[in-house]
Subunit: 148 residues, 2 copies
DNA sequence: CGGCATCCGAGTAGATACTG
DNA sequence: CAGTATCTACTCGGATGCCG
């Protein structure tokens, strides 16, 4: 049996808060919990929206108002042409970002967030801030766990 | 060229807000932007924390205070033994959840969120609420896009 | 330059059977 | 009951080449 003690002084979570959280979940799960949600839109949307690459793309487009394909590729370090263009396509399709093509020679294409994308970006930033804040903690949890 | 008009009346996003967001991102990306972050802890942590299954597991454990292996498996519809036990292991290792084993016969194991997990759950709920709210919109964006 | 088509390899998920 | 072991299937990502 393991027991991980967190070294940080985390904002305490009261029973009250847990109850409030449970209520929200109940609301969300209400229709989702009934079995036979073979196809669950929430899951579907979440799957894309929380994809590792999608998150990075959206975050970078929040930072740099517009980015061209290759610039984006450099920022989102490690992504391949294929995956990047795939993600860009579905992210555009879902309405997160816009694609402006300038028929110059050589061609120029600029990607940017839509207002919808910005609205999502805000949520994403909250999440990322949390992750940034605690990532060291998590990494060290992981190490301690392995030792046990 | 495409142009998607969103049917919903989204909270408007001011330039001001965009600037604030950009500042936050600058802070986050500051150390991350310098190339040679071959290994980026943020990415690493995000990859797990934003995993499709992990999210569902954490959300369900937020709803039901404790769940046993098979109960969880039923809730997180569609997950296999293997993947579930893998995820549970890493989520425990990272400190999101706790595992209590009762050496009875038959054996009983209960999973629950740690305080750390609850802290993450709160962020996750914000995200999920957003997704829930807009998923219909997104699905319809997607359909319209395909038609174009 | 942007980005799609193709191919290929590695890793991951799923199904099933089995064990403490 | 709570997993592990094994095997297969398949998806996904990376590399490359080509075209507008």
């Amino acid at each position: 049996m393991y027991s991980i003690t967190l070294g940080i002084d985390m904002e305490t979570i009261t029973e009250n808060q847990k109850v409030r959280v449970a209520k929200k979940l109940k609301k969300m799960f209400g229709h989702m919990d009934r079995r036979q949600m073979e196809y669950c839109p929430i899951r579907d949307v979440m799957a894309l929206a929380s994809d590792k690459w999608s998150i990075l793309i959206i975050l970078y487009l929040g930072y740099y108002p517009v980015l061209r394909f290759n610039a984006l590729k450099k920022k989102v370090y490690g992504i391949s042409n294929k995956v990047l263009s795939e993600r860009l396509k579905v992210l555009e399709a879902d309405g997160y970002l816009s694609r402006k093509m300038f028929p110059e020679v050589p061609i120029r294409v600029e990607y940017g967030l839509t207002d919808f994308g910005h609205s999502y970006l805000r949520k994403l930033i909250d999440l990322s801030e949390w992750v940034t804040e605690y990532s060291d903690q998590i990494i060290s949890n992981r190490k301690n766990f392995k030792k046990a």
